[in-house]
Amino acid sequence: MEKFKIRNNIRRLRFDRGEMTQEALAEKAGVTRQTIIAIESSKYSPSLELAFRIAQAFGVPLAEVFSYTPEHDQGNSS
């Protein structure tokens, strides 16, 4: 079975919003800055609820923030 990985575009989305700080995003999503750092660097996969909150903070659909792609595929990572 092929291995899949959760990737995210948080870094790009923050950049697109005038270099939104991790602290500002953390406050909007209701988590600590350390959790945002861990998610952004793909060290931690958030719960579905938190993933929706992050997408809501950016005002975009969930699929624009997170993707579930094969591990060897590097195309959609931040």
Binding site: E27, G30, V31, T32, Q34, T35, A38, S41, K43, Y44, S45, P46, S47, L50
Partner: protein, 150 residues
């Protein structure tokens, strides 16, 4: 270092201090002719109370220091967000699991000494020792989980 990591470090240092105190006293008793039940019971009481007080005091002092450092850094009077999110809870649970496993092994080994003919005082002393070691294992594992991401 994040606030949670600082809190874990303080807890780790205080537990290590209590463990050192416990081991020094136990070895002194052994060198002085074996474990005396009255002294051992007093030592357990001191260790349990010291662990609780040091952890509470450590947490309070850490939070005060974190707030002071934050106020100096930001030059504002606002408080630090001491938020516990899903990742903190997950890491806390994982740490508890490691701690529980270490304590279970400790209790098993302690009972083994009793089954092999050691007095009950030795068994209970080892159970107290394993509880302190389990606490340390839990803190160290939490620290490692924070470094790894979760």
């Amino acid at each position: 270092m994040s606030n949670r990591k600082t809190e874990i470090t303080v807890s780790l240092v205080s537990t290590l201090a209590v463990l050192a105190y416990y081991l020094v006293n136990i070895f002194q008793m052994i060198q002085g002719g074996g474990l005396n039940s009255a002294e051992v019971f007093r030592l357990w009481a001191v260790v349990i109370i010291a662990t609780i007080i040091l952890n509470i005091a450590g947490n309070i002092i850490t939070n005060i220091v974190i707030n002071i450092v934050h106020a100096i850094k930001t030059q504002k009077g606002e408080e630090v967000r001491m938020l516990e999110d899903e990742r903190d809870r997950l890491i806390g649970l994982k740490g508890d699991r490691v701690s529980y496993l270490a304590f279970s092994i400790g209790v098993f080994l302690s009972m083994l000494t009793f089954a092999l003919g050691q007095p009950p005082l030795v068994m209970f002393s080892l159970i107290v020792l394993s509880s302190l070691i389990a606490e340390i294992f839990g803190d160290v594992s939490q620290f490692l989980f924070y470094n790894r991401g979760a």
